[in-house]
Amino acid sequence: MTKTEALNSNSVQKLVSLFRFSRSSRGGMHKKDGINAVFFLTPTVIIFLTFILFPVVFSFYLSFHEWNMFSNEATFVGFDNYTKMFQSEEFWSVLKNTGIFTFGTVPLNMALSLVVAIALNKKIKGKKFLRTAFFAPVIISPVAAAVIWRWIYDPNYGLLNYGISFLGVGSVNWLNDPTAAMFALIIMSVWKTFGINMVLFSAGLQGIPETYYEAAKIDGAGKWAQFWKITLPLLAPTTFFIMIMSMISSFQVFDLVYVLTSGGPLGSTKVLVFFVYEYAFKFFEMGYASAAAYVLFVILIVLTMIQVRYMKNRIQGSF
C-alpha cells in the first residue's frame, strides 16, 4: 500500500470528498432524477439563501452604512465604520484578547485531544465509557456548563482553589482578576471542546494501517520513533483540518464568554464577537458591528490561507 492510498483511506478525506461535486457514478442522469434532485434540494437552497447568503451579503452592505435597525433606510458612510474602528483603542484590545484566547486554546486543545485519542486507541477496558465521558462536555449546553464552572472557580468555596490549596498556592480569584479570568476561560473552553477533536483524531488514527507499525517494529523502531515517523505524519491531514476548524471556532467564541465572565473583569475577556454583539444589539450600530464582523471574516480567511499554503507542500495528495 502506498502512502497516498493510506491517506485516501483516511476518514477525514472521505468527509472532505463528500463536499466535492462528482459525476453520478451510474453515468448519465435520467430526467426523473433531475426533478427529484430539484425537489430535495429546494428546501436546503432556500434556507441557504435566506439564512446564510443573504446575511453575508447584507452585512457587507451594512458595513458601509449606518443603520439602527428601527428605521427603514440606512445612510451610506463609506469607510467611516472601518476607520472609526481602527482608531478605537477598544477594538485593538478586543482583537488582542481574541488572539490570546485563540493561541491559548488551540494548541492546548489539540495536544490534549491527540493524547486522549491515542490513549483510547489502545485496547483498554472501559474505552467506550471513557470516550463518551470525554465527549460529554461537547453536548452540554454552554450555559449549564458555565454555571458549573462558576462554582469550580469560586474564590471562597470553589473546587479549583481547594485543589490548589494543597500545592501551597494562595487562593486565586479566578473570575475577578484580569489575568486569571482569561486563563479560566481558556481552561473551560478546552474542556468544553476537546471532545470533538478527540473523536476526529480517533477516526484519523483508525485510518492508519497496522502494517506500518508492524514493519517499523521489525526495523526496530521504538514507541517514540513510531509516533514521530508514522502516527504524526499520517495524521497530518486530520491535524490540519482540526487546526483550521479550532482556530475558526476560537475566533468566533461568544457563548462561553457571555455566560462565564460577560467580558469582564475590566474587559479582559471581551472578544471580537462579544464586541460585535454589544454594538449590534445594545447600541444598535449595525453598520459598525457589521464592519467588525467583516474584519473577523478577513482575519479568518487570511489565517486559513496561510495555513493551507504552508501545509500544501507537506501533505501530499490532499486538499
Binding site: M69, F70, N72, D154, P155, N173, G263, P265, L266, K270
Partner: protein
C-alpha cells in the same frame, strides 16, 4: 402526482386555518406586550379582567415578551414586518429609536382628545415618571407603575453587631461605618462569613452593567452631581460630586473585600451571609414569603453630603401607530392610570403607584399602615429622581460610566483618573451623535 395534489390541498387548509381566526367583529382586540415576571402575572390577569368587565367592547390580549434585549429585538422585527402590538411596555432607553422610526403616537393626541384626561390628572403623576415617559420634552408613553431603590437590611445582624436595629444608616459615614462593623471573618481564614453591604459591581461589558449604573445614580445625586448637563452638550459625572460618589463605592468595595463576594445578593441575604443591600419593591412579595424567621426591613437610602435622593424607575406604555384600535388602546391606558386602579394594582403587584392621589384611596391608606416596608418606598417617591435624559448615544455613555465604576473598584484605578478617561470617551460619543442629528 396524486400525492402532490393532496399535499397542496392539505397545506392550503392548514394555512387558512392559521390565518382566519375571526371572532365577533364588534369586539376590538388590543394586543399588549409586557415583561412582567410570573409572580406578577396573576395580578395582571385580574387587572385585565376588571377592565374587560367595565369595557365589554374591548378585549385585551396580554402577551409576555422577555425583558431587555429580547423585547427590543422583538419590537424591531415586529415594526419591520408590520405586526407591532397595539400597546407595549417600554423602557426609557430605547424610546429614542422608536420615536425616530415613527412607530409610536404622541400621548398628546389622546390626552387632548375626546376621551382625554385633565391637566390636573397629568400633574398628579410623579414628574420623574413623566420625564422618563417623554423624549425631548414630548410625552410618548404613560407610566404604568413605579419603582425605586431602598436599603434592605437584617435587623438581627444589627443587634448582634451592637447597632440599633431601628436606626439604619442615615448618611454616608454611617453607611461606611456600619457596613464595616457588619463584616467579619469569624474563623480567621481570610474569608468573610458575613458581609456588611453589597454593591452591584458587575462587568461593564456584561448584561448587568446597566443595572450597576442605575444603582450608582442615587449616590451621584446625593453628592450633588448629575450625569450630563441640561443642554446635553457635555457629561459632568466626572466633577467633584462624581468623584465623591465613586470614592464611596471604591472605599466600601475594598473595605469589605467585595471582589471575592461571588454570591447573588438576594441569595446571600436570605442565607444570612449579607447584612445590607440595595433593592426595589418588586422583590417585596417574594421576600415576605421566603425571609421567614428573620427580622428584616427596608429603609430609605442614606442621605449623601448634599441631599437625600433615590432613583425612580418604571415601565411605560406606548401606543403603536400600526395599531388598528388606538382609541381602545388608550382607553386601557387611561383606565390603568386612574387612582382606584393604581391602588389595586399596587396592592396586588407590589409595584408603586404612579401618582399621589392614590394615597387618598381608603383601602390603600389602610394597606400602607399594615405594610411599613411598602410605605418606605412610597415615601421615597417624594425625593425620587429620574435620570437626566440623553437623547442620543445614551447606551454608549452608560457603558463608559460602567467602565469607570469597574476600573476604580475591581481595577483599583484612581477614581478621578477613571472618571476623566470615561468622560472623555462619553463626550466623544455625545459630540458625534449631536453632530449627526443637528
Amino acid at each position: 402526482m396524486k400525492k402532490l395534489i393532496i399535499l397542496i390541498i392539505v397545506s392550503i387548509i392548514f394555512i387558512n386555518s392559521c390565518g382566519g381566526d375571526e371572532k365577533n367583529d364588534d369586539k376590538k382586540t388590543v394586543i399588549f406586550w409586557h415583561s412582567f415576571v410570573s409572580s406578577t402575572v396573576p395580578a395582571l390577569n385580574a387587572l385585565i379582567e376588571d377592565f374587560e368587565k367595565t369595557h365589554p367592547d374591548i378585549n385585551i390580549e396580554a402577551q409576555y415578551i422577555p425583558s431587555g434585549d429580547a423585547l427590543v429585538q422583538k419590537l424591531i422585527t415586529s415594526i419591520q414586518s408590520e405586526t407591532a402590538p397595539d400597546i407595549s411596555w417600554l423602557h426609557a432607553h430605547f424610546m429614542e429609536d422608536l420615536v425616530q422610526a415613527d412607530a409610536i403616537y404622541k400621548m398628546e393626541k389622546f390626552i387632548k382628545g375626546p376621551n382625554g384626561i385633565s391637566e390636573a390628572d397629568l400633574n398628579d403623576i410623579y414628574p420623574a415618571l413623566l420625564q422618563y415617559a417623554s423624549w425631548r420634552g414630548t410625552l410618548y408613553s404613560m407610566p404604568m407603575e413605579a419603582t425605586n431603590l431602598a436599603l434592605l437590611y437584617n435587623k438581627d445582624m444589627f443587634r448582634a453587631a451592637g447597632l440599633d436595629p431601628e436606626r439604619p444608616p442615615q448618611n454616608w459615614d454611617e453607611l461606611v461605618e456600619y457596613s464595616k462593623k457588619l463584616t467579619f471573618d469569624k474563623d480567621g481564614d481570610g474569608k468573610n462569613e458575613q458581609t456588611g453591604l453589597f454593591l452591584p459591581v458587575y462587568p461593564a461589558a456584561g448584561p448587568l452593567s446597566g443595572w450597576m449604573v442605575w444603582q450608582f445614580h442615587p449616590y451621584l445625586w446625593q453628592a450633588g452631581g448629575y450625569k450630563i448637563n441640561l443642554a446635553q452638550t457635555e457629561v459632568i459625572y466626572n466633577d467633584e460630586a462624581g468623584i465623591k460618589a465613586l470614592r464611596l463605592w471604591k472605599k466600601i468595595y475594598h473595605d469589605l473585600d467585595l471582589n471575592v463576594f461571588t454570591s447573588d445578593y438576594d441569595v446571600a441575604f436570605a442565607s444570612r451571609n449579607l447584612a445590607m443591600a440595595m433593592d426595589g419593591p418588586w422583590n417585596l412579595p417574594r421576600y415576605e414569603e421566603i425571609l421567614t424567621g428573620m427580622d428584616w426591613a427596608f429603609a430609605p437610602l442614606p442621605s449623601g453630603p448634599e441631599k437625600k435622593a433615590t432613583i425612580v424607575g418604571g415601565e411605560y406604555l406606548a401606543i403603536f401607530k400600526q395599531s388598528e384600535h388606538p382609541e381602545a388602546a388608550w382607553a386601557f391606558i387611561k383606565w390603568i392610570i386612574q387612582p382606584e386602579t393604581q391602588a389595586k394594582w399596587a396592592m396586588t403587584s407590589g409595584y408603586l403607584p404612579i401618582r399621589r392621589a392614590v394615597k387618598e384611596v381608603p383601602e390603600f391608606k389602610q394597606y400602607l399602615e399594615d405594610n411599613p416596608n411598602f410605605k418606605v418606598f412610597i415615601d421615597q417617591m417624594e425625593f425620587g429622581q429620574a435620570e437626566r435624559p440623553i437623547d442620543y448615544g445614551g447606551m454608549e455613555i452608560m457603558r463608559h460610566i460602567a467602565d469607570a465604576i469597574e476600573k476604580s473598584t475591581v481595577g483599583n484605578q484612581d477614581v478621578q483618573e477613571a472618571l476623566n478617561e470615561s468622560a472623555k470617551l462619553s463626550n466623544k460619543v455625545l459630540n458625534e451623535a449631536n453632530q449627526k442629528h443637528k
